[in-house]
Point group: C2
Chain length 445, copies 2
């Protein structure tokens, strides 16, 4: 860590980094470098232990308590904690509501919630009521009411809730955000994003099992493909776009329309891998294989969001950012900028993304070690920890959690109504008009 601290001191002397973004004098890094944050982990499944491993790489966080109803996962987590040289955490695991006891502890500043989707909002609400800082996994909520519950609770308690959307910190996405802020794409008009990830081996494990006989995410996640038809996992695709478009900060989502294809992939996977006589071959999956949503914003941009998790395909979030002066296409990894690109010819994006590397990535690149998902898990946790230290609002806040997560129930409603447009609630109650962008304005977190 000495390397980080040295560099922080260096930056703290008020130097200006490249790329035209001036660095806030680092909010006196020396003050916060020494400060410790105490976090409780609610949920230490596969995703929760990803977070735990990233936390254990830091010297400024302790884990006094962990919660999970699965003793095997508790053992895995304790093993990670002790092997990193820490004493065991206290365990809360007696039933589904054990997290309430964890929240009573006074030696916890915040919690990381990485549980099945249907627990995200109840746990986040309870944690905010207990005065804890909340970092909640994506999506933060599943229904319109849950989105309001998050917002209302945060406003009533003054507690903060950050949605832990790691894709916001993807290096290419942040370089493009940097380019957008420097005006290279002109006025932004249209964006694409989505979650295009063949999850069939996640939705079925082991073999073609899910639900009671399933393990890991197949134990609970697949049920959402049985019962729901909509973009049930919208935030990985939408988070980066919302930052680019300043959603909730001078702009907002206005309306959404969604359509879904027929549902074929999950049934086919069961038949192909478990045989047509396997009991799961009788399950009717409600989720269309590809769900496409078009979203309109208050400032006149449009967004295409895609959910595509049941079909064989290479992973791609399919980003596109297009303005009056140019366009970035994630598929194909190309950029075109009027005036500098050869006329009517794509330029491979690598050089431009390197040139406009975001200051935060420049500063922390060598420190991210083996953090998950190419480093982005480090960044999202770092942002959470740093804002807890400072006792300030997180860069991705409860209004973002609500506006991004509400896409799921709105898309379900649109599909159920033949693609009829659905209005977005204004979770900010008008505050979006005057709120200013805060996400990654400099290199501090």
């Amino acid at each position: 860590m000495s390397q980080i601290i040295n560099r922080r001191r260096f930056i703290g002397q008020g130097l200006i980094l490249g790329s035209g973004i001036s660095v806030t004098p680092a909010l006196a890094f020396s003050e916060f470098a020494e400060k410790k944050v105490r976090l409780g982990m609610i949920g230490v499944g596969l995703r929760g232990t990803d977070h735990l491993e990233n936390i254990l790489l830091r010297k400024d966080v302790t884990i006094p308590a962990i919660c999970d109803i699965d003793p095997e996962r508790i053992a895995v987590a304790q093993d990670l904690i002790t092997k990193a040289g820490n004493k065991k955490a206290e365990v809360y695991s007696k039933n589904d509501h054990a997290f309430l006891d964890l929240l009573k502890r006074e030696d916890i500043d915040g919690v990381i919630i990485a549980t099945p989707w249907e627990w995200h909002t109840p746990m986040a609400v309870a944690a905010m009521k207990a005065g804890k800082y909340v970092g909640v996994e994506v999506s933060a909520a599943n229904t319109v009411q849950e989105c309001w519950d998050l917002v209302n609770t945060s406003e009533a308690t003054g507690s903060h809730c950050m949605i832990m959307e790691n894709v916001c910190y993807r290096r290419d996405v942040m370089a493009v955000l940097n380019m957008v802020r420097q005006g290279l794409f002109g006025e932004i008009l249209h964006c694409h994003g989505g979650y295009q990830h063949d999850l069939r081996k996640v939705k079925f494990e082991p073999g073609v099992e899910f639900g009671a006989k399933g393990i890991h995410e197949a134990h609970w996640r697949t049920e959402h493909s049985v019962k729901r038809n909509g973009d049930v996992y919208p935030t990985h695709g939408m988070g980066p776009i919302a930052n680019i478009l300043n959603i909730n900060r001078g702009n907002q989502f206005v309306s959404l329309t969604s359509v879904a294809t027929k549902s074929r992939g999950l049934h086919k996977y069961i038949v192909d891998n478990g045989g047509k006589d396997h009991p799961n071959a009788k399950v009717k999956f409600h989720l269309g294989d590809i769900v496409s949503s078009l979203i309109q914003t208050a400032n006149g941009e449009t967004i295409l969001l895609t959910h595509d998790t049941n079909s064989p395909r290479p992973y791609s979030l399919g980003f596109r950012v297009q303005g009056t002066n140019g366009i970035w296409m994630n598929d194909g990894n190309n950029i075109y900028l009027e005036g500098t690109s050869p006329y009517d010819k794509w330029e491979p994006s690598a050089d431009l993304l390197a040139k406009y590397d975001h200051p935060l990535w420049k500063r922390l690149d060598s420190d991210i070690g083996n953090a998950g998902h190419g480093g982005i898990d480090f960044f999202v946790m770092n942002a959470f920890v740093e804002t807890v230290k400072r006792k300030i609002a997180p860069p991705i806040d409860v209004y973002d959690a609500a506006a991004w997560s509400v896409i799921a129930p709105l898309s379900e409603a649109s599909i159920a109504n033949g693609g009829a447009p659905q209005k977005f609630p204004d979770f900010t109650s008008g505050k979006w008009q005057n709120r200013k962008p805060v996400f990654a304005l400099n290199d501090s977190y």
Copy 2:
């Protein structure tokens, strides 16, 4: 041409080409190779003379008459005709309705209509009533009523109307169609297409002029960007997808929803290139810079269609064809097929597209010479000429002309109503359920 005739004889002996598609014994090519077709050209602007040049490469078509109200274009056309060794065509040019006199000629089998969009349907209707075979440029119609006019006239007169959608014949598109028909992508679920072409230098010429002071397409096309907001040019993106999905032949479009971004690009172009004081800087353009439409089909597929003509960007029709077994992405030029592609990795599409090259391209590749748009203009004209010779329905017929063209007015209506879904008329009056695919089933045309 001897090479073509030889090859036709070869194929005519009943051999089977590769790729698993058996060749119809060439409908006795010898009969049709000698047959002559007499075509009238209605409109010899830039697009009309493209077609004329392709026709003049053939020995089986004569041009007894041409029609255009612009004497300069008539001169260009006559020059092309005589330089190719033909006698001059008779000219019809006295006013906007001169085409009616051309249609009275009995020595014309068919007409090619390549005029401003608003003339397509009136001219096609008049030509069908005169008993002529119609080849009409895209889009065939601009309003729902015009679409019905085309269909009703064709049904009442028994005359055929082919929409001259050249992109249906793009080599990669036809290879993918071939792969789809052989089941390589599994059951098709979702497609993308569009018209993503920076037309600013077409919409303004010379300089930043259009309308009365504009030339070529700027003389009339730009006005559609002033008055209309919708996907005003849908067929290049939709034609190939409609063939893949068997639209009007076992399947049909059901509903559409569209959204448009703000309109910035055309005004910006005028200011940037003509100054903020140029009179055209006061023009308010109604067309959103990027129009996105989502379409649902009777068989449960969904389609994204994009219209993007006002912004700096490299040309791309952005095709995507995705099924239960794989996906083709035009942007990036990649394919993924489950079982044969390396797991979770894109394969560059070139080898597969070559392997599954459509039999029609295989047969005619060496004969297309300098035909426009990479050869596809030759193919679409060839299909028209060959079906006129055979006095049969064209492979892209009046129902296709109506169903593809109606996307424009439906998208305008959807945008005007906040993205509300619009129902497609059933132009086939139920016949779509039993009609069989006919487009490019073999290598004959």
